[in-house]
């Protein structure tokens, strides 16, 4: 990877409410125009890492206590989200989080908050071109739309802000496999056509490693493994714990005691 590094996280620690340490020295680097995937089980600290980047730790009483986050060469950790979003970092929150009482189009318009007062018509067309299902729902309250439509809505809403770095938190959560595939195809298109750098947090390791260029695996607030996406896909540990395969390539069984021992080595 000899591209320009857009985002560099150096050994950060994150503490919630001054006592709960969630991240213990996470380092990762995100080269420009790439898709970086962040994998890991529940509670590994993936979402926290994203929030540390986007500044959304503060409302949850969390803080980056050590290390640094460099975006385009300048330190951004612990800045308020208003500042960070205006530098082109937009996070799409986990669990979709639409504005339920706003229509689809109004939801998209909120995405223009970072560049208030500028024209947004072309951006609306762009988002509708990526997500044609949203066009006929544009006057519908978001609260009445389906999960798939909402996931497209929130990604489109983030696109309205012209992000340079897009942080996606589990876009496949609770969606049908077909919809997941479509959304991932669109994420890759956005990366290629808009030259948006993407950090993708996922449980669905299989899908994520198909579109990502590089991947990190997190456990208990630490990075335990990293590598090119293709490499990770072939790694026996990743196969076993995240792709649901036994080390030998046959579907894994819970009776397999060895899995526990191998897992322990990671912690």
């Amino acid at each position: 990877m000899n591209d320009k590094i857009l985002l560099q996280i150096n050994n950060i620690g994150v503490v919630y409410s001054d006592v709960i340490q969630v991240l213990k020295g996470v380092s990762l680097s995100v080269p420009e125009n790439r898709i970086i995937s962040l994998l890991g089980s529940n509670g590994a600290g993936k979402s926290t890492t994203l929030k540390a980047i986007s500044g959304l730790l503060k409302p949850e009483n969390g803080k980056v206590t050590e290390g640094s986050i460099l975006y385009d060469g300048t330190e951004i950790h612990n800045l308020p989200p208003e500042t960070i979003t205006r530098q082109g970092i937009i996070q799409v929150l986990e669990g979709r989080q639409p504005f339920k009482y706003l229509t689809i189009e109004e939801n998209l318009r909120v995405g223009t908050a970072t560049r208030f007062g500028k024209p947004y018509k072309e951006d609306l067309d762009l988002v509708y071109a990526y997500f044609p299902v949203l066009v006929k729902r544009r006057k519908t309250l978001a609260g009445y739309c389906s999960g798939g439509e909402l996931q497209m809505l929130v990604i489109g809403r983030a696109l309205m802000a012209h992000p340079k770095l897009l942080l996606l938190d589990e876009p496949s959560l609770g969606l049908a496999p077909m919809v997941v595939q479509e959304i991932f195809r669109i994420i890759r298109r956005i990366n290629e056509e808009q030259e948006t750098t993407i950090v993708l947090v996922e449980q669905n390791a299989n899908m994520a490693l198909q579109i990502a260029h590089y991947g990190y695996v997190m456990e208990n607030g630490k990075i335990v493994m990293e590598g090119d996406a293709a490499e990770l896909r072939e790694n026996p540990d990743v196969k076993e714990f995240y792709l649901g395969m036994g080390a030998t390539g046959i579907a894994k069984s819970y009776q397999d005691v060895k899995a526990y021992k191998r897992r322990k080595r990671w912690l």
């Binding site: 986007s54 959304l56 409302p59 009483n61 989200p81 208003e82 979003t85 205006r86 937009i90 996070q91 799409v92 929150l93 989080q97 639409p98 504005f99 339920k100 009482y101 706003l102 109004e106 939801n107 318009r109 909120v110 995405g111 223009t112 908050a113 970072t114 208030f116 007062g117 309250l141 609260g143 009445y144 929130v154 809403r157 983030a158 802000a161």
Partner: protein, 292 residues
């Protein structure tokens, strides 16, 4: 019949004033979920500021009116900046208690300057505003109350529906974390909601002052009446605030006219209980959208 129509018109115009002041209350609630107990004092501040500009500074009415609007707007902004902003992120009950404290403080300040006396504005509304339909005569004050109510309802309706800033304000009310993630300036939205609330409260304060005279206690107690109005209309609905205001205004004047003046303050609350039994979220409140 004439008596009925007269009461009807009076009720509607008083109702518009209640609605107008409730609108400011709703605005703060919508943006930040804060119940503002100092709302009645904001009304009084608008009324006294206008009084000062008209009688002390002897400005022409139009200039005084516009200056009052600007002044109350800025005042709301400052109040948010000084008192509410430091409490962002603290439990809601602390912020609500703070507004109770603000109410006492504002009232004290007004009493300090003007005392508890009743003041009146000079006659400043032109005669042509009065409506004369044969037996029914509507004095200029009431006409201007209705006029202001309609104008501001339309203005705010358009503001929230179409302007970007209005949509940002609604997004904060709807889902604050998501609004933050998109870079909506949440603190600016809070400040704006206080500024707008102080402004509309100021307008209704002026007109109520024209009708009843200006008195600190009287005006600030109207702040209390905002509660049945907004709960009736739905705490989070701007148009609900106006309609709730009209219903309460009508009930008051009708009860006062036909039954007994001493009952007029009780009936609205009885109606309130009845309506809440049928529609717990108020007449126009948001029905929680729940997807299963």
């Amino acid at each position: 019949m004439d008596f009925f129509i007269q009461l009807l018109v009076n009720g509607i115009s008083i109702g518009f004033l209640y609605g107008l002041s409730a609108m400011g209350f709703v605005m703060i609630y919508k943006a930040s979920s804060v119940l503002n107990f100092a709302h009645g004092e904001l009304l009084a501040i608008g009324a006294f500021l206008f009084l000062a500009l008209v009688t002390w500074a002897e400005l022409p009415v139009a200039a005084a009116f516009i200056l009052t609007l600007a002044g109350t707007f800025v005042f709301g902004f400052i109040v948010e900046r000084l008192f509410l902003r430091p409490l962002i992120g603290e439990p809601l009950i602390e912020i609500i208690m703070l507004t109770v404290g603000l109410a006492a403080m504002f009232k004290g300040a007004l009493l300090l300057i003007w005392g508890g006396n009743l003041y009146t504005y000079p006659d400043l509304l032109p005669e042509f505003l009065a409506w004369n339909w044969g037996v029914v005569q509507v004095p200029p004050v009431y006409v201007s109350a209705i006029f202001m109510g309609i104008v501001f309802l339309l203005l705010f309706g358009l503001f929230f529906k179409y302007s970007s800033q209005g949509i940002y304000m609604r997004s904060v009310a709807d889902n604050q974390p998501a609004a933050l993630s998109l870079g909506v300036h949440v603190r600016r939205v809070f400040a704006l909601s206080w500024a707008i609330a102080a402004l509309v409260a100021g307008i209704s304060g002026i007109i109520l002052g024209l009708i009843n005279g200006i008195n600190v206690h009287e005006l600030s107690s109207i702040g209390l009446k905002v509660f049945p109005v907004v709960i009736l209309g739905g705490l989070d609905s701007i148009s609900g605030a106006i309609i709730g205001g009209i219903i309460i205004g009508l009930l008051e004047t009708m009860t006062g006219g036909y039954l007994s003046p001493s009952l007029r303050d009780v009936i609205p609350y009885i109606a309130l209980v009845a309506i809440l039994l049928v529609r717990p979220y108020g007449l126009f409140g948001l029905v929680e959208i729940e997807r299963v």
